[in-house]
Amino acid sequence: MKILKNIYNLFFIFFFFLFSNLSLANINQLSEYYKTIRCLVCEGQSIQESETEFAINLKEQIQKKYESGMDLKDINQELISIYGEEISFKPSNDHFILWGLPLLLLVIVIFLVRHKYKK
C-alpha cells in the first residue's frame, strides 16, 4: 500500500511540474523574494510567512507578473511605487545620511576636541 501511495505522490509531483509554468528554481527565487517583502498588516513578518489576505493576494499578484515575464527588479520597483518604501525589508541606497551621519559627527567631534586641547 505504501509503495502505491509513494508512486501516486510521485506522479502527482511530476504532473504538477509538467503543467505548471514554474520550475523549481523559479519557485525558490520567488519564495526568496517574498522574504524581502513586508506584510503591511502584521509588520514584523514577510509575506512569505504571513497568512493574511493581504500577503496571500500580494504573493498571487507577484507570481502572476513574474510568470508573465516581468523582472523581479521591476516588480520590486512597482511595489515600492504603490506601497512606499516600507513594503521592502531591504532599504534603498539613498539612505546614506543614516549611515554616514555617525561617522561625520565623530569627525567633527574629534576636530573640536583637538582644537580645544591645542589651546
Binding site: F54, Q61, I80, H115
Partner: protein
C-alpha cells in the same frame, strides 16, 4: 579665523545641506503615486454586465472595497446605504470573495452600489489595498482621501 576650525564648520555645512535635501525629498506614501486603474472602468458590472462610463460619474464619487467574509464591512454598510440615498455614487469592489456568499450578502443587507465588480485581487493590488474594508474618495478623477478600515460618520458627514 583659525585654520583648525575650518573642517568642523565645513562638516556642519555639509551635514546641514544634505539633511535639508534629505527631508525635502518627501516620502512616497499615502497613495501619492496611486491612480485609478483602467481595469476599474473596463470590468463589467456583476448584475447588468455593463462597463462603467466615466461620463456618467459625478465629480465626487467613492470606491469601496468589501467582502462578505469581512465583519467590519457589515458595520460600515448602513453608512454606505445612507450615502447612496443622498445621491452619492459608490463603486463597490468585491475583494476575493465566493460568488454565492457575495450574492447572498448583497440580498440580505442591500445594495448601495452604483457599479459593482468582483475582483480577484488585481485591482486591489494596483490601488495599494491593505485590507478590507477600504474606501477611496475620488474628486475630479483623483484620489483625495483614503480610509483604511470601516467608515465612521465623521468620515462621510462632509459628503452627506
Amino acid at each position: 579665523m583659525r585654520k583648525s576650525l575650518i573642517i568642523p564648520i565645513l562638516g556642519l555645512v555639509i551635514l546641514g545641506v544634505s539633511t535639508f535635501f534629505f527631508f525635502n525629498k518627501g516620502e512616497k506614501r499615502d497613495n501619492e503615486n496611486v491612480t485609478l486603474p483602467a481595469s476599474l472602468f473596463s470590468t463589467a458590472d456583476f448584475y447588468d454586465m455593463k462597463t462603467l462610463n466615466q461620463k456618467e460619474l459625478n465629480d465626487v464619487y467613492i470606491v469601496n472595497f468589501f467582502a462578505s467574509w469581512c465583519k467590519p464591512c457589515l458595520a460600515e454598510h448602513p453608512l454606505l446605504m445612507e450615502l447612496q440615498s443622498k445621491g452619492m455614487q459608490i463603486i463597490g469592489i468585491n475583494f476575493r470573495d465566493d460568488e454565492d456568499n457575495f450574492v447572498q450578502w448583497i440580498n440580505e443587507h442591500g445594495n448601495p452600489f452604483f457599479h459593482i465588480i468582483r475582483d480577484d485581487g488585481s485591482i486591489a493590488y494596483e490601488m495599494g489595498l491593505i485590507g478590507v474594508p477600504e474606501t477611496f474618495f475620488i474628486e475630479k478623477s483623483k484620489i483625495q482621501k483614503k480610509v483604511q478600515g470601516p467608515l465612521f460618520y465623521e468620515d462621510i458627514e462632509k459628503y452627506l
